[in-house]
Symmetry: C2
Subunit: 370 residues, 2 copies
DNA sequence: AGGGAATATGTGACCGTTCACAATCCTGGC
DNA sequence: GCCAGGATTGTGAACGGTCACATATTCCCT
């Protein structure tokens, strides 16, 4: 059956595009609960009961109503429902950058959980962190659904989170906060500090004199990833080099990598995410520094592709999908008022050892490319 | 301002998290158009006019109303609006797999265009192509918004497209259809045949005796990508090897690659997307076959990472973002009834030459890995 | 047979907005 | 000074549900 309602493939003479007279342009008064009631010979309230699974309906009645529903192709109007009941059962995810792995995976987790709870999910994308854009995105979210989830991994997201109107139920996936947040803050996060620590420790154990860090942007002045890296370095009695600030994508990693490649002393690089790592590796490669013989690189996230890079990427697995789920469940219990809201860590970052990091090699043979 | 309403950065003694007594938990009867009217000393209809930008309102009145709106923090209730006006201004994207690049980018394009047109966008994810899941996803979409866009690159999507109720405005991003679709079908696509042809031709021009193809799943029995590849091969008087069926991700590519790697005759591989190409490259590498000296690999899509792989990936750029935009604009004109619906191609695939494909080398020196 | 709980079903009001149709206010032309 | 007609504002009735509160029916028990 064709989507537009044609049934015959009639390529000639496009029908007179519902011009004037036909009764077609009249807003196709959708079948309502009352129409169904009439057909089934009951009151509209009974129909309402049937579609809501109320048990106080005789089986025979229910059957008749259901038959009528099927016959008329009735579907409850969600707008009317929302209006009358004041319920909301819908959420909008405010996020930037849906193509980046961390964001996409978090969104996926949210969607899964929301679907299971029969919430419908919308998205509102942050175009930039400009005041106006942030406000617009939050407004869009606020008035297209009853609650909001903010993916606040970046600056724009953090601003958006602050801009959410007070009355609206909200939850957020955030960077690991600097200090434990107040109870009642509907925040979840993955333990960035632990992730950074374990990766750094690993590189140190491989004998590298120190570990350089290519950082994703952060809101908190001292990001917990940076802090974790620092901690591990300090614990080993090593002084930390200046972190290299970068963006989110492979290009940013590449640019950072070029700078790092010039420094012969660089033997181990920790990267804020897998894309960054990819870029760094590429830059190193172009500079004739082989991975992992000359330089070891470790990423964050464990994006699905990272296992297939050449060399495959040693990285820290972050359970973004789980994060998304947890975020939804926070929102859910906030809406239901069922459980108290406590901000918390989700999952445990896990180092995935692959090929891109190896033991320190004091005198790597450098080979100019080609 | 913090989300919960704190204004001071008070790290000590977490505030009693809106515990019990406060009048907070009551369904906050939102301020309505009538409340605003009362404050502004006008009728509710006038308020309605103001929020809808109706010009028949005296400036002084408009100002008073707007002041009242600001004072009360009024926001129009979208459910009530949708109910009363019968308008819809919202769409839901039905899609599987939001983490795959092609899907994510298409979604991004849709979102951009929708945002510009002040539509709110929802997503409904297809868990599988099982009848029940497809129906559920479409139902969710249908009753949470007034129109639907289906990303029908795969089987599940195609089924979903067919399952969309007739009354609902719909548009779809699809695979290139086998035969030109009827006018009126709200479909857009990227020219897969042309893309495959240009990539294949390129490999042939590099001297490769033939080109192998690792295919993404397709609905159409003979996918246009496969057809384009065939065409180019035939034009060069070369017989086509059996295509290797694969899935969507790097792992699938890897598995296909392992099979291909065993065959010494394989010198050029075209892959249905960049992830597949990545997997193939990895498999080739593990088999000791270097890229591009021993085997040339070309992908599809031009995902943002592909430029940074080592070797960087020669691929065919597909404008998914543009596809998404076009898809929305089709839906939009369908809703407005403004323009006739004609199914059409979007953009032109463009071969991006990078490092992963090179001239045919009859006697490559094979090196066992390590 | 009578009475009280369930069990079924119906009625009227209302959710917050827009729509259709008055009603009132101005303004300029004659 | 009066009137047509546009500018401005108001009123009542939807929109398609749910809610709160009757009103019938049943059914079981004494």
């Amino acid at each position: 059956m064709s989507v537009t309602g044609h049934t015959s493939p009639k390529p000639t003479a496009p029908a007179p595009a519902d011009a004037a007279d036909g009764p077609s342009r009249h807003r196709a008064r959708s079948v309502s609960i009352r129409d169904v009631a009439k057909v089934a010979g009951v009151s509209y309230q009974t129909v309402s009961r049937v579609i809501n699974g109320n048990s106080y309906v005789r089986d025979s009645t229910r059957d008749r109503v259901q038959a009528a529903i099927a016959e008329l192709g009735f579907r409850p109007n969600s707008a009317a429902r929302a209006l009358a009941s004041g319920e909301n059962r819908s959420l909008t995810v405010v996020t930037s950058n849906t193509t980046l792995y961390g964001y996409a995976a978090t969104l996926q987790g949210i969607e899964e959980a929301a679907r299971a709870a029969e919430f419908s999910v919308g998205i509102s994308v942050l175009e930039s962190s400009a005041e106006a854009h942030v406000r617009a995105a939050v407004d869009r979210a606020a008035d297209s659904s009853g609650s909001v989830i903010v993916i606040a991994f970046d600056h724009a997201g953090t601003l958006a989170l602050q801009a959410v109107p007070n009355a609206l139920p909200v939850a957020a996936a955030v960077e690991t906060p600097d200090t434990p947040p107040d109870a009642g803050q509907p925040w979840v996060w993955i333990d960035d500090a632990e992730a950074a620590r374990s990766a750094t420790r690993y590189l140190l154990e491989l004998g590298h004199p120190t570990v350089h860090y290519v950082a994703i942007p952060s809101n908190t002045h001292t990001s917990r990833r940076t802090a974790g890296w620092h901690t591990a370095l300090a614990a080993a009695g090593v002084t930390a080099p200046e972190p290299v600030g970068a963006g989110w994508d492979a290009l940013a990693g590449y640019q950072a990598g070029r700078r790092l490649a010039r420094d012969r002393a660089v033997s181990a690089v920790l990267c804020g995410n897998d894309d960054l790592a990819l870029g760094v590796i590429r830059a190193m490669h172009e500079a004739g520094r082989s991975i992992p013989e000359s330089v070891s690189v470790v990423g964050f996230d464990n994006a699905p592709q990272s296992a297939f890079y050449t060399p495959s990427l040693t990285t820290v697995h972050m359970d973004f999908v789980g994060l998304g789920r947890a975020c939804f469940s926070l929102l859910h219990s906030e809406i239901e008022g069922s459980a108290p809201i406590v901000p918390h860590t989700v999952g445990r970052p896990e180092l995935i050892v692959r090929e891109s990091a190896g033991s320190f090699n004091p005198h790597p043979t450098e080979s100019r490319l080609r």
